[in-house]
């Protein structure tokens, strides 16, 4: 049974339509600017983490490349953005952001050949090794990077000449949220395209994909490059909004946290990183406020419980609740003619 190109195009067009949930999600996301004025800082951090997780989702959820090395790109762009701002090479933050993304994508392209071969574990370790090595390099050249003290003297010009990043974090958050949205739209476009479909086939069965003529290697290189660019943009955002960059952008903790975020939220549907970021960040913040010294224990417990219960069971609970609500609705509607519900027997 062959599928024509038209059918594929129609399928993609249908899938690519924005569902009401998605629209609601983004409306709520932008509404947070006005709803939670006291929480700009943690929201901004969440937005950056969400973008970072999105970049991992592209390679992990869609192409099946497991990587602990996204921090390499995050940190590389972070230092790049910090350095160009510090030495006045690029003063306008938006241009600096785009440049950071591009140069990090180039780094991704160059290192992509490392992840093409080997098993999951190999890729995990190679990517991790690269990010740790970059961290060591940053420490070595501390005369440029500031070493363990972090990059000092970074001053960020106001965005578009008008919006300065201040103590209260309002402009910083809006900036990050807009960038997140734009990157999300780009990622969505990529995913709901023939290119994106081919990635999924590669993830499903690499050998078969190659057999039907998908240029596996180049597709993987391409998505890895894009993902590196997005991770770089996230890193540059962090440096720009905090006017600071230090060695722990390359740390194992950052990569590991990222993986946790994505696993919590779920891979392969783009929103996993965003949702996981919100859950993880707010959970961590709440627990850390409760017990500054032992919050790690409770987060660990939550993770263990999530895995033991299993998301299928949780989804089952959601289904039960939903069906109850639907039943309630069907029972309720005819008994409220004021709401315009038709009577059951057409009276």
């Amino acid at each position: 049974m062959t599928v024509s190109a038209d059918e594929v195009a129609l399928y993609l067009k249908r899938r690519a339509r924005w569902s009401p949930f998605e629209i609601a999600f983004w409306i709520f996301a932008f509404a947070t600017i006005w709803l939670f004025p006291g929480k700009y800082l943690i929201l901004k951090d969440t937005a950056i983490l969400a973008l970072f997780a999105l970049s991992l989702d592209l390679i992990l959820g869609y192409a099946g490349i497991i990587s602990l090395g996204q921090a390499a790109f995050f940190g590389f762009a972070g230092y790049f953005a910090g350095l160009v701002a510090k030495y006045g090479i690029i003063n306008e933050p938006v241009i600096a952001l785009v440049c950071s993304g591009l140069i990090t994508a180039a780094l991704g392209f160059v290192t992509s050949f490392l992840v093409l071969r080997g098993s999951d574990l190999t890729r995990l370790m190679v990517t991790l090794g690269v990010s740790l090595m970059l961290g060591e390099l940053a420490n070595r050249y501390s005369n440029i990077t500031g070493g363990a003290d972090g990059l000092q003297g970074v001053e960020i010009e106001p965005v578009l000449g008008r919006f300065r990043f201040d103590l209260f974090g309002h402009n910083g958050y809006v900036y990050c949220l807009i960038v997140l949205f734009i990157c999300f739209v780009i990622a969505r476009r990529i995913v709901y395209s023939p290119f994106g479909l081919s990635l999924r086939s590669i993830k499903g069965n690499t050998l078969r994909a190659a057999a039907i003529g998908v240029p596996v290697k180049w597709r993987l290189v391409a998505i890895y490059t894009v993902s590196a660019g997005l991770a770089g943009i996230a890193g540059a955002l962090l440096t720009q909004t905090t006017a600071f960059c230090s060695l722990d952008v390359f740390s194992l903790e950052r990569s590991a946290d990222l993986l946790l975020v994505l696993i919590i939220g779920g891979t392969g549907y783009l929103y996993g990183g965003l949702i996981g970021a919100v859950i993880y960040k707010f959970l961590q913040d709440w627990l850390a406020n409760l017990t500054p010294q032992y919050w790690q224990f409770w987060i660990g417990l939550v993770l263990v419980v999530i895995v033991l219960i299993g998301r299928e069971r949780m989804a089952g609970w959601v289904r039960i609740v939903r069906s109850l609500l639907v039943r309630l609705g069907t029972w309720l509607m005819p008994r409220l003619p004021a709401l315009g519900g038709a009577a059951p027997d057409g009276r």
Binding site: G118, L121, L259, V304
Partner: protein
């Protein structure tokens, strides 16, 4: 500098004892157990408690640490890990990292966050001078114990019935089950034994690597490096990998201290590019 070679071998052997349990678990059960470092830490703290607080002799503290950690490992395996075997690797990562967080915080709560020092007996302090090579006594102990363990493990694998069952289960679980091998029991015993070894490694290593609640997070990467470079289908793979990494790390730091930790990551990346399945993996289907 032969002293450096000696130090490197000792360090490598320590890494091997710590990491071989992980390698076997990964190879056997295809289970990524990132909480392996937590078992090592448990062994270390056991020994600290037994030797420092209860006053047991060091020679007794080591085997007891092994036993206790093996018991804990077996217990966890039967009660917690069993539920997670069938899950995806990602879920396993989440689960084991959760366990690590819990163990780090729990140890912090009960034993405090400071570095722990094991009181090693007088006989093990200092070094021998043999032909101009300074050989640390404690490191000699490490080399001897780890060497014996390696030989014992290899013998178990190659010569005993359990060993052949284990190898069969590693090669192909389904067929092994089909032949009547109780794969679940093999898993349980192997996991317990691997955790026990980790505990022993933690106890031995406290003197060299230090011991504090953040031990699992700090050293997990080294274990992973050993396992990845060595491959997961044999004991000899991780053994040679650890020796290589141990010597490389120590020699690199001696001759080019500026590069420091760089060397170990560079070795790993180079090996993995050259041979993605690890140095000694047989062409396994996985």
């Amino acid at each position: 500098m032969l002293t450096i070679l000696y130090d490197g071998i000792a360090y490598g052997m320590l890494l091997f004892v710590l990491a071989c349990g992980l390698s076997v678990t990964l190879g056997l059960m295809n289970f990524i157990n990132l909480a392996h470092g937590a078992f090592a830490m448990a062994g270390g703290y056991c020994t600290v408690f037994l030797v420092n607080r209860l006053g047991l002799p060091f020679a007794l503290g080591l085997p007891i640490a092994f036993l206790i950690t093996a018991l804990i490992g077996g217990l966890f395996e039967r009660t917690l890990y069993v539920h997670v075997y069938a899950r995806s690797h990602l879920d396993q990562v989440l689960f084991t990292i959760g366990l690590v967080f819990m163990s780090v915080a729990a140890v912090d709560y009960t034993m405090g966050s400071s570095q722990q020092f094991v009181q090693i007996p007088e006989a093990l302090q200092g070094q021998f001078e043999v032909d101009g090579i300074g050989m640390g006594k404690y490191r000699l102990l490490i080399i001897v114990i780890c060497g014996l363990l390696t030989v014992a493990l290899q013998l178990i694998l190659a010569k005993t019935r359990f060993g052949s069952r284990l190898r069969a289960a590693v090669d192909d679980q389904r067929v092994a089950r089909g032949l009547g091998i109780n794969v679940g029991a093999v898993f349980g015993i192997t996991f317990a034994f691997g955790s026990g070894l980790a505990g022993l490694g933690g106890a031995l290593g406290a003197e060299i690597l230090g011991l504090d609640p953040t031990f699992p997070l700090k050293y997990m990467i080294y274990f992973l490096i050993v396992v990845t470079v060595g491959g997961t289908s044999s004991i000899t793979g991780p053994f040679f990998a650890s020796i290589l990494l141990g010597i490389g790390d120590v020699a690199g730091k001696y001759y080019v201290p500026k590069l420091g930790a760089f060397v170990i990551y560079a070795i790993m990346i180079i090996v993995l590019i050259w041979r993605p399945q690890g140095l000694f993996a047989r062409g396994a289907a996985r």
